[in-house]
């Protein structure tokens, strides 16, 4: 279980430009929850995931993972528990290293790295198995540098890398946003399959309202650093995109405004 209590994160404190990126966030994530997160530009969605991952420190509040207070742990000390993928396909894989090398790095998530050979036969078997699940045929191209893969292939590989060790929490920050529609839907399919198969607790930011309704068992909506809506599975299944946007307007008092939003 992940518990966020009273999280605050301000930027440009004590200046006229002060931004409340996270404003008293309270969130309890139950084991196996797959939560989709939506909100207008600058709502604080990315900041929330970065705070949970430890990429940025919070000003106050407490972050607990399975009862352990990780609020003050640096990113690399939390990494064993948290898999994370960014919007940028370049960010979650190492371009100069081969597929098998990237996977070898990922399979030691959060563990000590020593002087044992990285790419071994048993590991290769594991990599092939994991890649086969994506259905992209990458298991036959293990020695190809990742920089030569397409954006969609790289995000699919990033997914395998993020989930290979079954982290307690998977954080996806618009991980299909930079892909063309076909690749995006493919990567979403793979995401759903992997998350479901391993019952991974997942937070997924998306700007696609339809995606936000279709995937996961819970939906939260953010606005100006706050969580303004938290919808459970039943209600989520009944909602339409139009109703969701109407709900946003009534909760926030403004119209939904995200430059990348896909409302249809």
């Amino acid at each position: 279980m992940i518990n966020l209590t009273g999280i605050n994160k301000y930027f440009f404190v004590n200046t006229p430009n002060e931004i409340k990126a996270l404003d008293n966030i309270n969130l309890q994530v139950n084991p196996g929850d797959f939560i989709t997160i939506i909100g207008s530009n600058g709502a604080g969605k990315s900041t929330l995931l970065k705070a949970v991952a430890g990429v940025i420190p919070v000003d106050s509040g407490c972050i607990e993972i399975d009862g352990q207070d990780v609020t003050n742990l640096p990113e690399h000390r939390r990494a064993g528990d948290i898999g994370r993928i960014d919007q940028d396909p370049m960010a979650s894989t190492a371009a100069e290293l081969t597929i098998e090398e990237n996977l070898a790095i990922a399979c030691l998530r959060g563990q000590r790295r020593a002087l044992a050979r990285a790419v071994t036969r048993p590991r290769l078997e594991r990599f092939r198995q994991a890649l086969r699940d994506t259905g992209l045929g990458l298991e036959d191209r293990l020695r190809v540098p990742v920089g030569t893969l397409s954006g969609g292939q790289r995000q699919a590989l990033a997914l395998v890398m993020a989930t290979m060790t079954r982290p307690r929490l998977l954080l996806l920050d618009e991980h299909t946003a930079a892909l063309d529609p076909k690749a995006a839907s493919l990567v979403m399919d793979i995401t759903e399959r992997i998350v479901n198969r391993h019952q991974l607790t997942t937070l997924m930011i998306t700007h696609n309202m339809e995606q936000a309704l279709r995937f996961g068992n819970r939906l939260i909506m953010m606005h100006r650093g706050r969580i303004i809506l938290d919808i459970g599975s039943d209600e989520k299944n009944r909602l339409t995109v139009a109703e969701l946007i109407a709900k946003f307007a009534s909760c926030s008092g403004t119209v939904f405004d995200n430059d990348r939003a896909l409302l249809a």
Binding site: S92, I105, G110, R113, A114, L115, L136, S150
Partner: protein, 327 residues
């Protein structure tokens, strides 16, 4: 054998250790480490002082290399713990090293011809005399040993973490690696090799001088680039072997230039021009035609490794950005 070949082989092998060090930091870690201009003569100075003090030559060379490693640690700590910019950290260490060398030797130059050197010592164990060929053979064995050890290291879990730090620091941190430590480790290993290079150089030439380091960095970069350009390949093994061969080719070119009557005082300028040429050729019209023959990876290295370390991967990916998934 022709003296041009002998000379370039010996020099090339001695400087190969430095080229390997520079390959580690500049190319694989994406860290433009300027410490090495100081590390090279430091290795020589420490070795010279030790030999004069009566230390066993082999141990003296090891001390020189360790002093190099310590210099790398200084730069690494400055950069990671004190958050000093990477280039500035190297410059500060290199500058401080100048004083350290003068203090170590007590004067700017130490002649060593009167003492037994490490080559004579090692060859003596096998009952061999110290000839050009036997020295080259000794160096070759050591170079190959270092090549094998580095090749092994860079393919271990830790070695991959080092390479990933150079390729995508954000990613490897998200996977639980403290990149401060991988940077520090790489700087220590690289500068150990550069110190070793300086130590072996002073043993071969029979003196150590505080001015030995001037221009060695650009020569090492030229060697690494030559190696990657000529011998190509994007697997680390190829890069390592390329740096060694590149160093020999580079020294060969210099020796050839001398033989053809080019004045020695022009060498540093010509080296700088050579590096500039290889770096920019791929960007120019004629260069594009000529560069067709170069391996793609080498061209990437040329353009990016030096000018914007760490950016190579981003561009490689950017080309593919947004392309469809083929399934």
């Amino acid at each position: 054998m022709d003296s041009v070949i002998i000379n370039s082989l010996q020099q090339g092998l001695i400087f190969a250790f430095m080229a390997l060090g520079v390959l580690l930091t500049f190319r694989l870690l994406g860290f433009p480490d300027l410490t090495v201009e100081g590390t090279f003569p430091l290795g020589a100075a420490v070795t010279a002082r030790a030999v004069v003090e009566g230390v066993d030559p082999l141990l003296a060379v090891l001390l020189g290399a360790l002093a190099g490693g310590a210099a790398g640690a200084a730069t690494g700590l400055m950069h990671t713990r004190l958050k000093v910019n990477n280039i500035l950290a190297g410059i500060l260490t290199a500058s401080a090293i100048y004083t350290v060398m003068l203090r170590t030797m007590g004067r700017p130059n130490t002649p060593l011809l009167a003492y037994e050197n490490v080559y004579g010592q090692v060859l003596g164990w096998f009952g061999l005399g110290e000839t050009h060929l036997s020295v080259i053979f000794t160096l070759l064995v050591l170079t190959l040993a270092v090549r094998v050890v580095l090749g092994w290291f860079l393919n271990t879990d830790l070695g991959l973490a080092v390479r990933a730090t150079g390729s995508n620091e954000r990613m490897i941190r998200a996977l639980g690696v403290n990149t401060d430590n991988t940077k520090l480790l790489t700087l220590i290993i690289a500068n150990f090799l550069v110190g070793l290079s300086g130590a072996l150089a002073c043993q071969a030439q029979g003196f150590a001088d505080v001015g030995m380091g001037i221009g060695v960095l650009v020569a090492a970069i030229a060697s690494a680039i030559l190696g990657e350009t000529i011998f190509g390949g994007n697997r680390v093994g190829r890069l390592l072997t390329g740096a060694i061969l590149g160093s020999i080719v580079y020294r060969g070119l210099l020796a050839l230039g001398l033989r053809l009557g080019l004045p020695a005082e022009d060498f540093k300028l010509m080296t700088a021009l050579l590096v500039l040429l290889v770096l920019t050729l791929p960007n120019m019209e004629i260069g594009n035609r000529m560069a067709k023959g170069l391996p793609k990876k080498a061209r990437l290295f040329c353009r990016q490794a030096i000018f914007s370390p760490g950016a190579a991967g981003k561009t490689a990916g950017a080309r593919n950005h947004g392309r469809e998934v083929d399934n």
